[in-house]
Symmetry: C2
Subunit: 529 residues, 2 copies
Amino acid sequence: MGQTRRDFLRQVGITGGAGVMFHTMGALGLTTAANAAETPPFTPLTRDALHGRGTKSVIVMGGGIAGMTAAYELLKGGYSVTVLEGRDRPGGRNWTVRRGTTFTDLKGQTQTAGFSKGQYMNAGPGRIPQMHVTLDYCKELGVPIEVFTNQNADAFLYRENVPGALNGVPVRHRAVKADAYGYTAELLAKATSQGALDAELTAEDKDALISYLRSFGAINSANEYVGGGRRGYAPEPGAHLEAGTPLPQYELSDLFRSTLGNYFSFEMGFDQAMMMYQPIGGMDRIAYAFAEAIGARRFRYNAEVVAYQNTTDGVAVTYTTANGPKTVTADFAINAMPPHIAAKIPSNMPAGVVAALGSVSRTNAGKIGIEYNRRWWEEDFRIYGGITNANTNIGNMWHPSYGYHGKTGTMIGYYNTGANANFYGALTPAQRLTEAVAQGKKIFGDVYGEGITASFSQDWASAKFSEAAWVSWPGAVGGQTGAGYRSLLQASGNIYFAGDHLSHAIAWQHGAITSARATVEQIHERVTA
Amino acid sequence: MGQTRRDFLRQVGITGGAGVMFHTMGALGLTTAANAAETPPFTPLTRDALHGRGTKSVIVMGGGIAGMTAAYELLKGGYSVTVLEGRDRPGGRNWTVRRGTTFTDLKGQTQTAGFSKGQYMNAGPGRIPQMHVTLDYCKELGVPIEVFTNQNADAFLYRENVPGALNGVPVRHRAVKADAYGYTAELLAKATSQGALDAELTAEDKDALISYLRSFGAINSANEYVGGGRRGYAPEPGAHLEAGTPLPQYELSDLFRSTLGNYFSFEMGFDQAMMMYQPIGGMDRIAYAFAEAIGARRFRYNAEVVAYQNTTDGVAVTYTTANGPKTVTADFAINAMPPHIAAKIPSNMPAGVVAALGSVSRTNAGKIGIEYNRRWWEEDFRIYGGITNANTNIGNMWHPSYGYHGKTGTMIGYYNTGANANFYGALTPAQRLTEAVAQGKKIFGDVYGEGITASFSQDWASAKFSEAAWVSWPGAVGGQTGAGYRSLLQASGNIYFAGDHLSHAIAWQHGAITSARATVEQIHERVTA
């Protein structure tokens, strides 16, 4: 009776597999779609999980989200845990830069953030989809959340070096969407009315389709798209006789040839569609909440792992301290470092495992935070949060999802990956700002360069202990079904692996967490076998 | 030099009209789209606005948003202002119900809200688009804002009494969107490839369109829509080898005949597209901030206007007090009451003006807040905010945009208008809850009826001083260009009118504010002529 529907469905899912769960949900009157609410099942360990089995100790190598999740969940079951972290803070790539943050990259360049109090940038992950278990940990750890604005009709899209009149013209997201959907509806309605799809559609289907297209594209009863209010007005509707004048639509040919409309697939992505969330005050609130829950006495900061091995009855891990290297032993270890970092550390892992760790393909990403002495995107452009996207080297700008109407604000001036991230990474921090401002001016004009009070940029490829933003598994090594990948899903002796790279949510904290949970389950199954 | 771009553009807009502004923005390198950032221009009065012209007094009839905006802006210019409000609170339809709120409707039914501390429902307006000047007053009055979740891919859509397999099946917003867009893309790509649109499109256009459609609809290289991850998974992508299994798509015929896809026009609306905002703590934070800025000594609550007239040298307004009717005089009055209410109050207004006030068409709206002892929409369904929409009598459910992860939560169980609102309005509060729960169970199952700890429902048609949610101007009386409407845009003697009904943003606070600003300008122009 006290069992919740979710518990019940989870149980069914665990014992019967997805097919049974599917069927059961149907019997409960739930739809197949409701099933999408089920996050990967996991049953936390209980305090008596090790009852009668003595003490079991685990060394966690890496205090990122995967390592801390593993430590946190093992502690629930009474395991003895030590976390070794090379940095002087928890979280790994989950990193929030605020006033006073100092960072020296692998090239020796040091930046100290001069942001105002309350201003911050999430240099790593910045958004959490609703279905990600990351939110469950926010709840469990008491980290309050607020909306991350991943989509905004009033933000801008910008494409240059494209054919047609929209080349180099910043345009509102809503205007592009209205036009793209409007022309799509017009063309399909015309084709349908002219019988071009009679082989595909019944008469009833055609009627239903036309009805849908009129709504979807805001086309008129002659199936023509003639613009309209959803794309914006100048002037806007106001008092008395001011009904507003819709801004004129772009030409069909200009619109589609600009590629601007191709942006909208982003916001329909499984893990990018609104609603999205962020911790209030910075993503690292999660990292610090994990660290606090684990306890300072179990955490070693500035503890760079320099060697690890299986021993006859457990593991031994050597790490740096202020007084030179120190070796600790335990029953098990979890290697929760990025695989390409782990691959470089001396160990007695099988050669195949080391090769697998080193076989990943790295992706770089970069971000710059730019603080302005006023929130001109709100004041001048009426943009409250959201993403402005460009096909230039900046990739994406993030209008901040916090501090609305405040005295100052911090834009993410670029969030880019791959070649664009490498381009900025090769610049000095000062040069990065100069370039980002030059690119931003193309979209927002001179205001983009005015009133800048602080900036901070991150290049993940040149960040010690990361050396990449995330990794992928190349097809050449079998992707995520190949022998290399599979070799890391089980223990090598008493040493396990965890991280988002061992999940199908790579680059998401969800991947790190679910991977760590799987490792916790593996260890506990072995201990209690 | 100190002039901001916005000030400059506004000045150009004021002196040269929209055409000049448009042109100027082009010269500044801004696009036409950027113009959409300009809210209706308004220059607040300054403290010396009445210098040398003596005291000028204004009675404001109605302490809703229009009346309070007028009072607030007139005070800036040194006018003497008195606000007469029939209710015991400011805000009019801007009304937040929380623990202890008591309300008796025109039928004599009394409800007292038993919500938990921190829980509330906005019985009237609940959301603010980015471009609405309402946000400017939040900033000016120090009312902090947060995101209102007007769109959520994981909320549900529900249609019954429709043809096909989706009749009566609650489905995820994201699944419907993926399928509707996918099939749209497939059909148009096929028609285009088969030459059906050769008369409309050049070869280059066709290539650009196909590229767009592949992105937009997630169709494959054969231009077929075969579902995919954006619509949801069961199981979801997780750790190790769990790549996730996309939920199977609905059939094209079922999808379009269900009319589910017709919902998406809502979220593309000029004033409904994300991002949207709300005051933290309840919409009435705006009302109380206005009231505080105006000052309690200028506010008369429980002051129902029972008569008003032009006099030889000004106005006289009679209102109720605990000690019987009282008459106050002033140079001017602003009638900021709903027009159909104003039409019933004795006055010496011209017959045509009274007829115009009474010529509006009223729309009813209803809402119910239901507090649950747990946030099952987050816990069981992973729905964090957003709107679940149905074609049943509930219309829309709002998943709350505040209190995420909290102990309890308050759903808006219905937000409906017209006949559906009247249907619920005819029920007792207890019956409304019973019916709303029965309808909600169709979508969310038994959980919708479990753990309800409090509820409160509002029927605007039976609310004294409102008697409607909003009004419109019927075509039979010329709509918003007819003589009746126009007669209210100028003073009748010394009496002016203000309210959202005298704007092209009816039912929005933006309309009330812009209308009130226009009235303030009219009065001050007359005084300083």
